[in-house]
Amino acid sequence: MWPYLRVYKEFLRTSFAEATSYRLHFVLLIVMDNIFYLTSLLGVSFIFDHIHNIGPWDRAEFMFFIAFMLAVDHLHMTFVSENFWEFSYGIRIGVLDFILLKPLNAIFTIFFRLIRPATMFNFFIPLGTLIYFGLQLHLSVYSWLLVPFMLLLALTLQTSLEILMSMSMFWLVQADAVNFMRMQFQSLSRWPDFIYRYYARKFFTLAFPLLLIGSVPVKILLNLTEWKLASCSLLAIAVTWLLIAITWRRGLRSYESASS
């Protein structure tokens, strides 16, 4: 564990050094993230100017869900997202060879190597809106204490599902297409499960559990008696990692090492 933490500290240091070399790009990333947060929140807010509820949730509950997903997205953008693009590039040009040779778990190096410091500085918007709507809902002390764990649960499930999707890059010539689809799946999970119709809801809860990412943690935070739902997310994470292990081994067998 300690060697990995030391390596991760180095990953952080080099990512900061790289990010601050391109200052305009750094600032533009911050602006881009803020546009994303603003459009996500305003879109739902404008709809609620004309209606009182969507399904069982009113404006505050729905906005709390959106804020929660923005917070998850913020963590995902900061710590993981860049790596998926590098993975597709690495497979195509053979950089993966060098990662496989390193005395570290390759999945750790592939998916946690790059950090986006610019996004890190934007934490106050998703966190601020989460706190604002949480206060409107009068969340209990226990719910507030659970927020970091629920964010972590959601982030872990989202990252795991995306790593599983990325395994298909071993077999596809144009792996960028997988990244574009991965981003579309992110948009699917940014809405609560009850907005989807029966078959879509079943599919994205049981077969490819994208809807568990946000819906389970927010339902628990809004009503602590629903805590048992967390077991569904944990089970989904376990199954996803089992599938990652299988597809990773198979993927490596079919990897042709472009640089060799």
């Binding site: 881009m32 459009t39 404008f46 509820n53 009850f194 989807y196 879509a200």
Partner: protein
């Protein structure tokens, strides 16, 4: 502008060859084409269909700002068609060409950089128009899309060609900023997110606060999705000629800016990798 038109006329065979090459590229990676061009629009439509049906069905709401459930679904389906017709092309290759020094070839060859990328855009646009027509016919035949009129469809199709020209001009402008920027994808995503929200792609402009929607008339955004969607639906209340003039004026501004930026950028160009 006149010399550009003259260039297209006399160099038509080169344009044709580049277009054929673009079609071959697109068809060589079919999965890529589906995932990158059709996939996002389809997933976006799927989400919006679910969100709006949930709003109407779970709430028992009959109308929202004049939109019934079926007219809102119709609106979203036409937004999907507009998205396929006008917003698929991106400037990724263009920026990479500059960053990796590939534009050196265009400076020597008798086929300009803008001509090469414009001909690729024309090829892409023709392909997208076919995809949009097929999608509309399928949606109409399956009953998803109601009230399809040939007159409105042709009018919308005509208007969307100008929308796609605007998108191409904006993508070209963002792409050539690669003379100064290491990465231009951030600007592209920023513009896409802003346009997607302010053009009425997610929610119709009638649902926006009135003052805010009024302010948007002074920007190009409503002309990119809201206007063509309403034209397809046969429900655009204002003058289409005026909308077209506004859209063309914004496009000319973008082309002018691109021309200035290209001239300045090429002076800075160091031909990396040569």
């Amino acid at each position: 502008m006149f010399s550009a038109a003259k260039g297209i006329y006399f160099e038509w065979p080169k344009w044709w060859q580049t277009m054929k090459m673009q079609w071959s590229n697109m068809m060589a990676y079919k999965l890529n084409f589906i995932f990158m061009v059709l996939g996002p629009s389809l997933v976006y439509l799927f989400i919006k269909y679910n969100v709006w049906t949930a709003i109407y069905d779970l709430q028992g709401q009959s109308t929202i700002q004049g939109y019934t459930r079926s007219s809102m679904i119709n609106y979203q389906l036409w937004v999907f068609v507009v998205g396929i017709l006008a917003q698929g092309f991106n400037s990724m290759d263009l920026a990479i060409d500059i960053r990796l020094g590939r534009i050196s070839s265009y400076l020597i060859y008798p086929f300009d950089f803008w001509q090469y990328h414009s001909s690729r855009f024309v090829a892409f646009q023709l392909m997208q128009t076919c995809v949009a027509i097929i999608s509309t016919l399928i949606a109409s035949a399956t009953g998803l899309l109601s009230g399809l009129s040939l007159h409105n469809f042709l009018l919308g199709l005509f208007y969307c060609q100008f929308v796609s020209l605007f998108w191409f001009a904006s993508q070209f402008l963002i792409g050539i900023l690669a003379f100064w920027l290491d990465q231009t994808w951030v600007l592209r995503v920023m513009f896409l997110m802003t346009a997607s929200f302010l053009s009425g792609s997610m929610i119709p402009l009638e649902i926006f606060p009135k003052g805010f929607a009024h302010l948007l008339n002074y920007s190009p955004f409503p002309y990119l999705t809201y206007v063509p969607t309403k034209v397809f639906m046969g429900a655009y209340p204002d003058s289409l000629k005026l909308a077209l003039v506004n859209l063309l004026a914004w496009t000319v501004v973008l082309i002018g800016l691109s021309s200035v930026i290209w001239k300045r950028g090429i002076k800075l160009y160091t031909a990396a990798g040569m």
